[in-house]
């Protein structure tokens, strides 16, 4: 037993060191492996050294571990880089469900020793809280997953916020009443379970797809707290340590992510940005005409430029065009053109997501320039090529207070001499609003699928 405590101590340390190292690009990968090592020794330490584990149940434990490992590895290995956010959401939901089930079984243990009202109220309270938080995290993550794979649409019920807050208070009220012995039927557990799952669904349902990363990060910290409840329940330091660490780090990460998008957390949770609010502030109507550019003209324009900045957006990722984009960059570099990528903090579906996608196609890390560093450079840029991005280059964020994205920091592409927007159609971006950049005299549109158009651009450039 004492040896197990030492294993837990080491595991807890690896979690802190792991998270610390994950915060720096050079050490991030090692940090992840260190935390994984700590987790492994904690798991096997528990199986072999924890008092009360029956050897007859080993088969179930190892069976579960093997099944989970095989499915988990396959899913994690098979998922495309563009699908990362939903994968994280899915795994998060699994953790939440796991925490919820622990509460269900522990409550059952209590029932075997007598009426639950005789049990220690602190223990009961922890069981209920673990169930509530775990279930919310599970249901919420599954809805977030559905939204990211675009199987679930944003839906706002009338009085949604009032209903949500009322429901949450009701759940906590029932849990408190049961803990203090005012409710005596053991079925109260299933009532709490059902209401918590419902709350998880209603909580995420109205939030726009563009805000899912923030929601996932928040649910991530919920699962951390649910795991910590298990730590209290079993007086288990490593669960408490890991759970609280993720709970607090996750909450702060949520806030930091909101800041990178220049939005407040309340705004994200209540604001219904990006969908579901089609009648709320559409922004100014834009008049003017757009002009198209042919591929060969675009190729010539770029070839005789000194500096080209590429602004990649989710459209590039969806079209799987990151590799051909890298090829375009190389062709231009061979012509002596300076090429850089301007990365908006929320390019892609999550902060940092675009960097991962481009790095996957071998784009050099130091060519990826973050927004604050690239913005002053647009003045000296000849051509900005915007591939599948829209809201992050919409000037309405700066000069139209009625626009739903007003206040979001954007890339100042209109400072450059020319902008070329590569898009499939004139359809609005994720926020569902028009982009006045398209109507700017300095801008040309290049319609078509990102991958196909880029491929044609590259062959035009090569034949020049």
């Amino acid at each position: 037993m004492n040896f197990l405590q030492i294993i837990y101590l080491i595991a807890s340390l690896t979690f802190v060191i792991g998270i610390k190292m994950l915060g720096k690009p050079e050490s991030a990968r090692r940090g992840n492996l260190i935390a994984a090592f700590g987790m492994t020794i904690a798991i096997f330490g528990t199986i072999f050294l924890y008092e009360g584990i029956k050897t007859s149940n080993y088969i179930w434990i190892f069976g579960g571990l093997i099944v989970g490992t095989v499915i988990g590895t396959l899913m994690a290995k098979k998922v495309k880089m563009t699908g990362m956010p939903q994968m994280v959401s899915f795994f998060n939901g699994m953790g939440g469900a796991c925490a919820g089930i622990i509460s269900l079984v522990e409550f059952d243990h209590i029932l075997h020793t007598g009426p639950f009202t005789d049990a220690d109220p602190v223990k009961l309270g922890i069981i209920f809280l673990g169930l509530v938080i775990g279930s919310i995290s599970f249901a919420g993550s599954m809805i977030a997953f559905g939204k990211l794979v675009e199987k679930i649409k944003d839906k706002v019920l009338p009085l949604q916020q009032v209903v949500n807050i009322g429901l949450l208070l009701l759940i906590l009220g029932i849990a408190a009443a049961a803990t203090l012995g005012y409710i005596t039927t053991p079925n109260v557990l299933f009532l709490i379970l059902a209401l918590s799952l419902l709350y998880g669904v209603l909580f995420v349902m109205p939030i726009g797809g563009a805000d899912m990363p923030v929601v996932i990060s928040l649910l991530n910290s919920f699962t951390g707290v649910a795991a910590a409840m298990g730590g209290f329940l079993y007086d288990n330091k490593v669960m408490l340590f890991g759970g609280i660490l993720v709970g607090s780090a996750g909450t702060l990460l949520t806030v930091v992510m909101c800041k990178a998008m220049n939005r407040s957390l309340t705004n994200v949770l209540i604001g219904n940005f990006g969908g579901g609010s089609k009648d709320a502030g559409e922004g100014k109507a834009i008049t003017g005409s757009i002009k198209e550019i042919s591929k060969s003209d675009a190729a010539v324009l770029m070839k005789y430029s000194k500096k080209v900045v590429i602004v990649p957006g989710y459209g590039l990722a969806v079209a799987q065009a990151q590799h051909i984009c890298h090829e375009l960059e190389q062709v231009l570099e061979d012509e002596g053109v300076e090429v850089k990528y301007a990365i908006h903090p929320v390019a892609g579906r999550m902060p940092g997501h675009m960097n991962v996608l481009l790095a996957e196609s071998n784009v050099s890390y130091d060519k990826l320039i973050e927004m604050d560093d690239i913005n002053p450079e647009f003045k000296t840029t000849d051509v900005v090529l915007i591939v599948g991005a829209n809201d992050v280059v919409n000037p309405a964020a700066k000069n139209d207070p009625s626009s739903p994205i007003y206040g979001m920091p954007i890339l100042d592409v209109e400072d450059a001499a020319h902008t070329i927007v590569m898009k499939r159609s004139m359809k609005a971006g994720y926020a569902g609003i028009e982009n006045e950049l398209f109507f700017s005299p300095k801008n040309s549109m290049l319609f078509g699928d990102a991958k196909k158009t880029l491929t044609e651009l590259v062959s035009e450039l090569k034949s020049l």
Partner: protein, 101 residues
Amino acid sequence: MNTIIDYIANNQLMIYLVILMIFVGIELIEKVPSVLHTPLMSGANAIHGVVIIGAIIIMGEAENMYATILGFIAVVLGTLNVVGGFVVTDRMLEMFKKKKK
């Protein structure tokens, strides 16, 4: 009420640990470049998979059908969280290798 005060008194170290961990968590995340937000979230996601320890305990102590079935599901789901979480994070970070110009 007394039971809650007793609990706090008997578990002072746990409470201190929780409070300190909250600050450690905040301290660790501040000033992380936004490039790393996604892998960091994913890594933290894998770490809360430590809930699997609880799943192993209920599975290991299981004596009836109810606990065995739920315990088994919990172990599978917990493992999914841990293994999937770490593997996905590693795949993301694999992309961040330094490349020569």
